[in-house]
């Protein structure tokens, strides 16, 4: 039985010097057979396992993770959550996630520090203005809150932005989604892991998948560094390494894995109480609860699995940040890192069955998967349990690259990919 976290449990454990907290999840050895195995213990994979157990009564399942849970892109993103996407399919998908975010801490009994501080997207040229206005209208038709702001309103909402007309990329306006914001990324992985574990899901860390065993056109199990695990259903949620797993099953995916970088500054007092993103100059910034500025840079243009990126990408982002926020000119950056993002040609994800029975893929989230974590897990669990997609992820099938029915967010997303 899992003890609930509350102010009383906090007081009780304080009295015993915090030495008797219950383990948040077990460390089991893999069983010989499961009803389903999720490959990848990031936020999306753990959420999938959580909803499989909770909504579909599949408790004899496991999550296998080659490193430690939340150690990949879950712990490397810039924690931005929003749902202001242009196309109906994307709006449905991301707003489904946003609605789950709004009650997630209560549901998981784990504080994911979801903060609806708003996300503002800036326009720097006339085409940006037209695109952002169009997106605002599309959002509102889909029931997603969005407002268009003039330059003065942008300045009022975030006073440290340089809105002077003589900078290289002047701010001509922007959009604001007030329900959007940030959450604590590690807590999302830990909260879902704790919740899934409490319902009997085995979370097996340091267990790398080495092969997928097929019998004709259906899955029989997976070879791992901890031995063979028999299962009829495998859900792959391996982000940048999706193609590596797909190759083991003899499947081709339309993905390219590229390094995406982010960086944080030294911690300072509260200076920016929202998230500001700029597509044209590719810079986005928010402030963590510790006080660090969290800055997202762009992807490199070559395939790499190194979790590093090129210096000039960071330099370009910081040039843009400094022009938009002259007040940051003497801030020092503390850490920089890279994550490997799997990018689809249309920059939309794949949540889909495959030509192999019992093999499912949840991948292609590219540079913006964190925001979708709860929705992605919920819909992927539905897809695995019913062997059919939910209506919200039906458009995100693998077959769209054959039919041509792409969800082309590439130019329409809030930042360039």
């Amino acid at each position: 039985m899992r003890n609930r976290y509350s102010v009383f449990s906090l007081i009780k454990n304080a009295l015993s010097y915090h030495e008797n907290w219950q383990r948040a999840w077990k460390d089991p050895a893999p069983k010989k057979e499961y009803d389903a195995v999720i490959v990848g213990g990031g936020g999306h994979g753990l959420a999938t396992a959580y909803y499989l157990a909770k909504k579909h009564n599949m408790n004899n399942i496991a999550v296998v993770e080659k490193g430690w849970i939340g150690g990949g892109n879950t712990g490397r993103n810039t924690t931005i959550i929003r749902s202001n996407y242009l196309w109906d399919a994307s709006a449905g998908l991301y707003d489904h996630a946003l609605k789950i975010w709004e009650g997630l801490s209560q549901e998981l009994n784990y504080n994911v520090m979801f903060s609806q501080r708003g996300v503002m997207n800036l326009a720097h040229n006339l085409q940006d203005v037209r695109d952002l206005k169009r997106r605002t209208h599309a959002n509102r038709l889909n029931g997603i809150d969005a407002v268009y702001l003039s330059t003065e309103e942008v300045k009022k909402f975030c006073p440290i932005i340089n809105t002077s007309p003589d900078i290289r990329y002047p701010v001509l306006g922007g959009t604001l989604q007030r329900r959007a914001g940030t959450a604590r990324h590690d807590a999302v992985a830990w909260g879902y892991a704790r919740g899934a574990d409490a319902m009997g899901v085995d979370i097996i860390q340091n267990c790398e998948v080495k092969g997928i065993k097929r019998n004709g056109d259906s899955v029989e199990g997976i070879e791992t560094t901890k031995g063979f695990i028999k299962t009829k259903k495998v859900g792959v949620v391996a982000a940048g390494h999706s193609s590596v797993i797909a190759n083991m099953a003899g499947l081709r995916l339309p993905l390219e894995s590229k390094p995406l970088q982010a960086l944080v500054s030294e911690p300072v007092k509260p200076i920016i109480d929202t998230v500001v993103m700029s597509n044209a100059v590719h810079a986005y910034v928010s402030q963590s609860d510790k006080g660090e500025l969290v800055i997202g840079a762009g992807t490199d243009d070559y395939v790499s699995y190194t979790q590093k990126g090129s210096h000039q990408i960071v330099e370009g982002t910081l040039n843009a940040i400094l022009e938009l926020y002259p007040i940051f000119s003497r801030m020092r950056m503390l850490r920089q890192w890279g994550g490997i993002v799997d990018i689809c040609p249309d920059a939309s994800p794949i949540l889909s069955k495959t030509s192999i029975k019992g093999l499912y893929f949840n991948c292609g989230w590219g540079t913006g998967g964190f925001k979708a974590t709860p929705g992605s897990g919920d819909l992927f669990a539905h897809t695995i349990a019913n062997d059919e997609p939910h209506k919200l992820n039906a458009a995100f099938n693998l077959n769209r690259f054959v039919s041509g029915d792409l969800v082309d967010e590439h130019g329409a997303a809030a930042v360039a990919h």
Binding site: N247, R252, D301, S310
Partner: protein, 91 residues
């Protein structure tokens, strides 16, 4: 960040180059004969290998010529560089 030995200009900073994706994807000889599956394969499906991969690069801020590269994507080590039209080196 790494250095790239352009076959026309010599060793230059990676910053001067643009990656052009997977190499040796042949344009269909008879486009009108192709099925939707074959088009998807040609247009979208990629090897995306973790390990040694063949790619195209362009010296965008230099001679602007295209060439091929063999690179290990797990550590960014460049194994070989050869001109367009040349046979890829056998391992």
């Amino acid at each position: 960040m790494f250095l790239i030995n352009c076959p026309y200009c010599g060793e230059r900073d990676q910053q001067e180059f643009k990656a052009g994706g997977e190499a040796h994807i042949e344009r269909p000889k008879q486009p009108t004969e192709l099925s939707d599956d074959e088009w998807a394969e040609y247009l979208f499906m990629r090897k995306n290998i973790k390990g040694v991969q063949f790619e195209r690069w362009n010296h965008a801020h230099g001679c602007r010529k295209w060439f091929n590269m063999v690179r290990d994507t797990s550590n960014d080590e460049i194994k070989a560089i050869y001109k367009m039209g040349e046979k890829p080196p056998t391992q």
